[in-house]
């Protein structure tokens, strides 16, 4: 029961981070400033939701649930390797193709 509450808190926190990232993508003025919420808040939201689901699946510990939880943690590790790489790659392509930063 207490683990259910921990799971709910983590998943709701992750959804809050996802909301912030999506609103930032809509409302910021420039490509480079829009890259900031798209790069960071998605990583944090994914990590918090995945921690919540890991806590939920490890409530009944047996071998199948342990293997599934290990794969869920591996998704988080892969997302933390791939998301900064993808962000850097998009910004690098934009800089080299001559997109000017926003000036007021």
């Amino acid at each position: 029961m207490i683990l259910d509450i921990v799971c709910i808190i983590f998943v709701l926190g992750g959804l809050l981070f996802f909301t912030g990232g999506s609103v930032g993508i809509i409302r910021l003025p420039d490509f480079y400033t829009r890259m900031h919420p798209a790069g960071k808040l998605d990583s944090m939201g994914s990590l918090m939701v995945i921690i919540g689901l890991f806590v939920y699946i490890m409530e009944t510990p047996n071998l199948l649930n342990a293997l599934t939880g290990l794969k869920i943690v591996l998704i988080a590790v892969f997302m933390y390797l791939s998301s900064p790489t993808a962000t850097h790659c998009i910004v690098d392509a934009a800089m080299r193709s001559g997109l000017k930063p926003w000036e007021k």
Binding site: D4, V49, I50, L74
Partner: protein
């Protein structure tokens, strides 16, 4: 109780995906569209995990989510290499 919670979280996450979809459709440059696709893909991985908990088969949907994360990463890298050093987009 937890089944309802996962269902409502999935519905909310699907509605949140409409905001980067606006940027994909009306983005001023190609890179805005690429960034929106990347944001939608990283939300879709989490949505697939939640769908696995709704159907009570998380052992199957975790594999699908892992494959989708790999595919999203490769697609974004390949597309941004394609637009590398290409002037006047």
């Amino acid at each position: 109780m937890m089944w309802d919670f996962f269902l409502y979280c999935s519905i909310y996450l699907s509605l949140i995906m409409l905001l980067p979809m606006y940027r994909v459709v009306f983005g001023p440059t190609v890179f805005d569209r690429l960034m929106g696709v990347n944001a939608i893909g990283s939300k879709t991985v989490v949505l697939l995990l939640l769908i696995g908990f709704i159907y009570e088969r998380p052992d199957m949907f975790v594999d699908i989510a892992l494959a989708y994360a790999l595919l999203n990463f490769i697609a974004v890298i390949a597309t941004s290499r394609y637009f590398y050093k290409r002037r006047r987009l």
